[in-house]
């Protein structure tokens, strides 16, 4: 009789133990996955802010179209590609295009006294460099969250939970072309 109770007790203990492991394992993955979603949303917010700011910047820099038709067109094209982006890959491409357009814009503005003389010049530099810095941080935060998830999901026993509950085995990083995610460096030395 006592052996029967002992056996039931052991089985019960194992069932509870497995249930607890599954609950904690599942919740752990949900936390990591949600963290990635949060960081991705932050990139989207920053991209939207930058996208909105491009219009203001073009308005603030008088004479840009006359002095740098190519850059103006590049920025316009970058805005269009952002509007059309639907997948993450397309969003990364649009991000890179806008970042490069901004960097080129800064070079043109720096080299052109007719443009730098406008009242909004310094404000323009501050807004762009600040926005690019924020985007750089958002991308880094996202990639760190992805790295944590990818590393965690490969480890035992989480690899089992990931298969069991249908979590992705690997999430893609926000990978930009070399140099495209660097914050433009503006030298204020006089």
């Amino acid at each position: 009789m006592s052996k029967k109770y002992l056996g039931l007790g052991i089985v019960g203990f194992l069932v509870v133990l497995i249930a607890l492991l599954l609950i904690f394992g599942y919740n752990g993955l949900v936390t990591l996955d949600t963290n990635i979603d949060g960081k991705y949303a932050e990139i989207e917010n920053r991209l939207q802010e930058r996208h909105d700011k491009i219009g203001q910047v073009l308005g603030a820099v008088n004479g840009l179209q006359e002095h740098a038709e190519t850059i103006y067109n590049a920025i316009t094209a970058a805005r269009a590609s952002y509007n059309d982006a639907e997948t993450m890959e397309e969003l990364i491409e649009a991000d890179a295009a806008e970042a490069l357009a901004f960097t080129d814009l800064l070079v043109v503005v720096e080299d052109n006294p007719m443009i730098t003389a406008t009242a909004g010049y310094q404000a323009l530099i501050d807004e762009i460099s600040s926005m690019e810095s924020a985007l750089s941080v958002a991308r880094r935060d996202y990639n760190e969250a992805v790295q944590t998830y990818n590393a965690s999901v490969r480890r035992f026993p989480r690899v089992l939970y990931a298969s069991l509950f249908g979590f992705e085995k690997e999430v893609d990083f926000w990978k930009m072309n070399d140099g495209a995610d660097e914050v433009p460096v503006i030298d204020f030395d006089e």
């Binding site: 404000a123 501050d126 460099s129 600040s130 924020a134 941080v137 030395d189």
Partner: protein, 256 residues
Amino acid sequence: MSSFVLLIYGCKKDEYPRPTNQYYVNDYANILYQATRRSITKEGERLYDLTTEETDGGAQIVLATFEVENLTDIANYNKTDIFRQWEIGKNDMGLLILLFFIEEEIDEIPYLVLVETQIEVGYRMEQYLTPTQLGQIVDDTLYSDSYEELDMSVMYMVYELLSAIYIDAYGYKSFDYDMDVYEEYLLSNPDVSSDDSHVPLSWLFYLFTPFASFEDRLGLILPVIIFLILGGGGIAIKNKGGGGSSGGMGIFRRRR
């Protein structure tokens, strides 16, 4: 005892120095007058106390100075990481000012020269202080010719930033300050000798701040118990971070 010290330092994982007990001023370059450090600390405490019950309350302005060997060394300091490590501002209403100095010789006398200024704002503070506004304030104060003395320019900048926060974030009608009064205060308190109030928090102090991670606390719990048994009670932190975070928004300026 040596193993005790090793254990404490073995737990250290922070990339940057911990904030000082004053918290609002971290003069690692040891360039500011005590009067300036006290004034910034006092204003920092006042801002936090006055706004803590407001919507988006608990704003904190924290200033840090660093001496670097050359300009490239500045790249070793990430303003976002420092902001996050120091957890500036309640409700993400923080503002961090970093001033970098290089030693240069003028007439064979070594001086510390301001070579770069960086400002980082907390996530929530972003909606009240734009990069344009921050840049304007820094240009009109720290980088203007208004004052020759660095302490005066620094305090002028801090007052203007405080003014912007009080008015734009909390709806105050005005924030009054008088630079002439401050100049007199500075002249009457010329003491430049360093005091122990701007050294980094000791590890035992650090344990009780929000900067300490769970691992830090776990690793330090045994030494702390021993320390308390030996009679090391009565520890209190005067100022600490409000738990804020930031996302890279801010500005920077080169040489003054």
